[in-house]
Symmetry: C2
Subunit: 254 residues, 2 copies
């Protein structure tokens, strides 16, 4: 199978000592670890490095990026306080993580992390939950990149960045990353990012008082530009009538 199995104890062993030291949540694992600081543009780890640690962000923002063979740079996500990095990895890090702003984080050895998680069922639950959230985010990015116009992408991006960890929307959106970061995240060029922001500002949907933040003036307009995506308002009925092909054999047969 793969490497982390060797770090997991046999189930019987685990059962005997399980819950000896209950751990409230994943974050509490990191609480006693020393804080590490990273300056903007400093890397935490590189794509291809051996994945020895899990990290929890406490302050600041980071970018996760992949470098392609021809030098192109693709940002696969931005990380904020409360986010973990390194949980979804195998033996090696799949991407480079660099600080965008000044960052503080704590690290925890991966082996020990997996060990603790294996010991405590509540941690398992939380880890699954995190993985699922991460997966949803990755898929949302794929949806974001699919077929949307520059305007739609930016509108979505502002809404995404405008929601804090508790999912509440704020009208002033902090953008600590550069235009190049945004471009590499949305799959477009800096020029198009810049032009589109200008266009949105000219049409009064947003204002750009500072370089690294935007203020949303017309939230509803922005939402309608962002359009169909995001949010769970799957209209129950009208989509259902799709299969033109005759249903052949259904149900639990065979």
């Amino acid at each position: 199978m793969n490497a982390q199995v060797v770090s997991m104890q046999d189930a019987r062993t685990r059962a005997t000592c399980s819950q000896a030291f209950p751990v409230a949540d994943l974050s509490s694992l990191f609480a006693r670890q020393p804080v590490e600081r990273f300056a903007p543009a400093q890397a935490v780890f590189w794509q291809g490095d051996e994945a020895t640690h899990i990290f929890e962000v406490t302050v600041g923002m980071l970018r996760a990026l992949r470098l392609l063979g021809d030098g192109r740079r693709i940002i696969v996500g931005f990380l904020r306080p409360g986010d973990l990095l390194g949980v979804s990895l195998k033996e090696r890090y799949l991407y480079t993580v660099e600080a965008v702003s000044s960052v503080e984080l704590r690290r925890f050895p991966r082996r020990r992390f997996e060990d603790e998680v294996a010991r405590h069922s509540n941690l398992q639950q939380q880890l699954f939950s995190r993985l699922r959230d991460e997966m949803t985010a990755a898929q949302d990015q794929a949806v974001l990149l699919s077929r949307r116009s520059a305007e739609e992408k930016l509108a979505n991006f502002f809404l995404l960045m405008g929601q804090n960890q508790n999912c509440k929307q704020t009208s002033i959106v902090d953008l600590p990353m550069t235009r190049l970061d945004i471009a590499d995240y949305l799959g477009m060029t800096i020029e198009t990012v810049s032009r589109t922001i200008t266009k949105l500002a000219n049409s009064g949907v947003i204002a750009t008082p500072e370089r690294r933040s935007v203020t949303v003036l017309k939230m509803e307009t922005l939402r309608s530009l962002a359009d169909g995506d995001e949010s769970d308002y799957w209209t129950p009925s009208p989509y259902r009538v799709r299969s033109m092909h005759p249903p052949v054999f259904e149900g639990g047969g065979a």
Copy 2:
């Protein structure tokens, strides 16, 4: 935290009865379930449905798609034998899954699935591993969609579809899905898909003897068109063979 927690037993309870019935692997959970058949275009479940079951594909291909508010259709992945779907753990499926070809699969109640996984540490390992693979797949799609030209996208797509579950490349690539499916997966139009395939065929990189398959004539050229992507070329050897688990496809969330 969320719904599945209620289906999980308390850790102590679980510990007392753990390993009473060891289960070899995730697939064996499905082995005794009846086979269900689905005709092409028939849906297995819809986006927004309550996520009551986990499925394992045994034969055929399916597509996982999301419908946007304005009617656009985005295919977030294709599923093949060995893939799981619906593992995602939240209350509702994130997307619709439909059969592309004739499909056979087995279903397993989600509650029981989670229960079994919680009970057996080896299943947990496997599930984590699958989730990790799926994460990678979702990120790969994001990379694929980022900034690539039509030619690069198609080249990557053929390479992706040309590798079977054991990651071996075959030179004849089966394409059971329609051009529209490909277009909605790669974020382009059917016309561009068609034109690009024609172009690749004219330049002798591939041949298209049948409508639903292509033969790769110049694998190296195709790879160089696909370019830097598909990550694992910066890691020396053991990477290609890392995972014996096919990716999981996840359906819950939101």
